[in-house]
């Protein structure tokens, strides 16, 4: 151990984005020398090493160069400059079942795919039954793969890829496919690989998964490495980065129009939490206050202030308003401030979005600020998921045989 398994030596990858792609001779001649394109450096001088037996997670937003990096490591793409040195047998789970031939049976495809991944016929013979077992295809192994369901397809792809007995396993977000049970099974296999001392190279934008399986995290942004740390610190960098990127993206919408039927508007929204001032995220169970300022042009009776918290993928975490709290507010003309205070927020990891709004008792919406705030919670512990629960564990001797 201690050897370097994957040595990424200052690789850069340039893509040319053509506004139109000319591939016929006629077009090439017509447009010779003046094809408009933009250059995009998908990877910009990326350099780090992965030691043998290490599990490294690559974190980054969409378009940060994660997949390009993986493709360079797998050899599907060649870097524009620099090189990747890979020591040992590498198997890539870039896209499961990518090399399958539609017309052939599952059985034939296992052999074909196996040889694509560098296995000899004898090697495949030896693991064939295990592949069929793992993929749960049973008798369907002799059907043409074009008749497979997408689940069957992916299962067979994964089974073949891990049966190569790789020294280095490269996993792109393939675990996102397949049903939950199969995902667990795949993750189980990956963890087993870890224990066996294989090197694993992992790409995801689920920080939770990095915490679960990785020793180290590398954070990419716009083709550059912006952090290379032990997993939990890398997740922190990733979160901080998301906050900054989010702030830039959530530019304020044009000034709210004060229509006669909208006599009140939100003027400011702010979030204060236990870590305010010292860090851009809060810890589970810290207090939090959502405060918004308003300005009313007139006196309004029975105003409802509301807020809601969503995850990035749009799942509602929590929402409430003053009507639910049975606190109808009568607002006088002029500006004012209201706040929702939480003594403790039982959330685990998350980079959530907070929406706020003001409406009338009857549901007329006066003003809304979507994505007004970002709520970043970082979990220092090992528990996983959205919600910070505090389990009490008890063992009673009688329940054991």
């Amino acid at each position: 151990m201690g050897d370097v398994a994957v040595d990424i030596q200052h690789i850069s990858k340039r893509f040319r984005l053509y506004e139109a792609k000319y591939t016929s001779l006629k077009e090439r001649v017509i447009h010779a020398g003046k094809v408009p394109f933009r250059e995009l450096w998908a990877l910009d001088d990326v350099a780090f090493e992965v030691a043998e037996g290490e599990t490294v997670g690559i974190l980054g937003q969409n378009g940060s160069g994660k997949s390009t990096l993986l493709k360079c490591v797998c050899g599907v793409l060649q870097p524009t400059s620099g090189q990747v040195v890979v020591r040992g047998k590498l198997s890539g789970l870039l896209e499961l079942g990518a090399g399958f031939q539609q017309e052939l049976s599952g059985r034939d495809n296992v052999y074909l795919n196996g040889s694509m991944l560098g296995m000899s016929r004898r090697d495949v013979d030896r693991v064939f039954d295990d592949i069929v077992d793992f993929s749960e295809l049973g008798p369907f192994i002799d059907n043409q793969v074009k008749f497979y369901s997408s689940g069957m397809y992916v299962r067979l792809g994964f089974a073949v890829a891990v049966s190569v007995d790789p020294d280095i396993l490269v996993v792109d977000e393939v675990l996102a496919v397949g049903d939950e049970r199969f995902q667990r099974k795949c993750l189980g296999r990956i963890k087993k690989f870890q224990k066996e001392g294989r090197t694993i190279f992992f790409v995801t934008h689920a920080p939770d998964l990095v915490r679960q399986v990785c020793d180290r995290g590398v954070v990419l942004d716009q083709g550059k490495v912006i952090g290379e740390e032990v997993a939990t610190d890398a997740i922190e960098i990733y979160h901080e980065h998301l906050v900054r990127a989010g702030a830039a993206a959530a530019a304020p919408p044009g000034g709210p129009v004060l229509a006669p039927e909208r006599p009140i508007r939100i003027t400011s929204v702010e979030l204060e939490h236990g870590g305010s001032g010292s860090r851009p995220y809060m810890l589970p169970h810290e207090p939090m206050t959502v405060r918004f300022g308003y300005e009313a042009s007139d006196r309004i009776d029975g105003v409802v202030f509301s807020y809601s918290v969503f995850t990035r993928d749009g799942t509602l975490v929590h929402a409430s308003d003053t009507a639910i709290l049975d606190q109808l507010v009568d607002v006088a003309a002029g500006s004012g401030q209201v706040e929702f205070h939480f003594d403790e927020v039982p959330l685990l990891d998350g980079n959530h979005l907070v929406h706020v709004g003001i409406s009338s008792r009857t549901g007329e919406i006066y003003d809304v600020r979507e994505n007004a705030l970002e709520l970043n919670v970082k979990n220092p512990g090992q528990a996983r998921g959205l919600v910070a629960l505090e389990p009490q564990f008890t063992a009673r001797a009688a329940s054991y045989r």
Binding site: K26, G53, R87, Q101, L104, M116, G118, D167, G188, G197
Partner: protein
Amino acid sequence: MTSASSVDPGSPVSPTLLGEDDDDEPVVRRRRSSDVVRVVSARKPVHERVADIWRARELLVNMVRTEIRVKYKSSFLGMLWSMMSPAMTLAVYVLVFQVILKNGIPNFVIFLFSGLLLWNLFQVGVQTATGVVVNNAGLVKRVSFPREILALAAVGSASVFFFFQACVMVIFMVVLHTSPAWTLLWLLPVAMVPLLVLASALAIFLAAVNVYLRDTQHLIEVLVGAAWFWACPIVYSYQSSVAPKLVHHGLTWLYFLNPVTPLIMTFQRVLYALVTAPSTVPPHPVEHLLPSWGWFTYLWADGAVLGVSLVLLYIALVVFGRLAGNFAEEL
């Protein structure tokens, strides 16, 4: 499920890799199974590319097998088509040249077949290979393997069909009671090897170029299928039809710039074997159908073609290496 401790340390594939994950099972830290160091970089020297191709030879075999199986899987007559289509071509040429134009070559079917056999391998191989990277875009974008294998597999499957057609040719020869030049049979592989090298060189080169210039495919169909075919002495005899005129104009060298020509003539010399024969068309003058060269001339000519082809193959590999880096983006 056997325990992981029973893994044979020497075997590259452990039998316990698959199966349900089981945490209770003792896990043995494994040693690295291979010390192969692979370098991914934009510039890879040709000898390393060749080494990569050699390591992937089993993939080549599998791809050839796949292509043949897929091609005829859902057609009723299957493999028979690979023989039917050249047989039809053969029939048309016999009808046109022997029956209608009365070229007077005795046993014209065998003459034609011996040249066509080799030509079909060349043409089918090169033409299929030209489109092969583009047609396998999905694979090229997702799986890493030496891309040259795709082009070589096209030549490989053309070679398999060559073998089927050769069997048909043997049947023809038996039926028509003709015999090859038995003492010169060894010249057949001598001509085959340069042809395979030449076809591979063109296949690799064109497969890469076609990714950037998709016209190549159509251009090749016309150039190889029409022009190049007629530049080879396949449907006509070099010695009786073109040689006198070429000598007259001093252009023999030009004709032999076509590297396929000597190879086809070697096949004709061995399989057709009639150097001189009386014409089948009255008044039956004795025709010189094949050059009266000794075996050494054939050996020398084929050797020269081999030399040229190897140079071309090297150039093709260099060009392919330069272009292959951007395949995944261009497709």
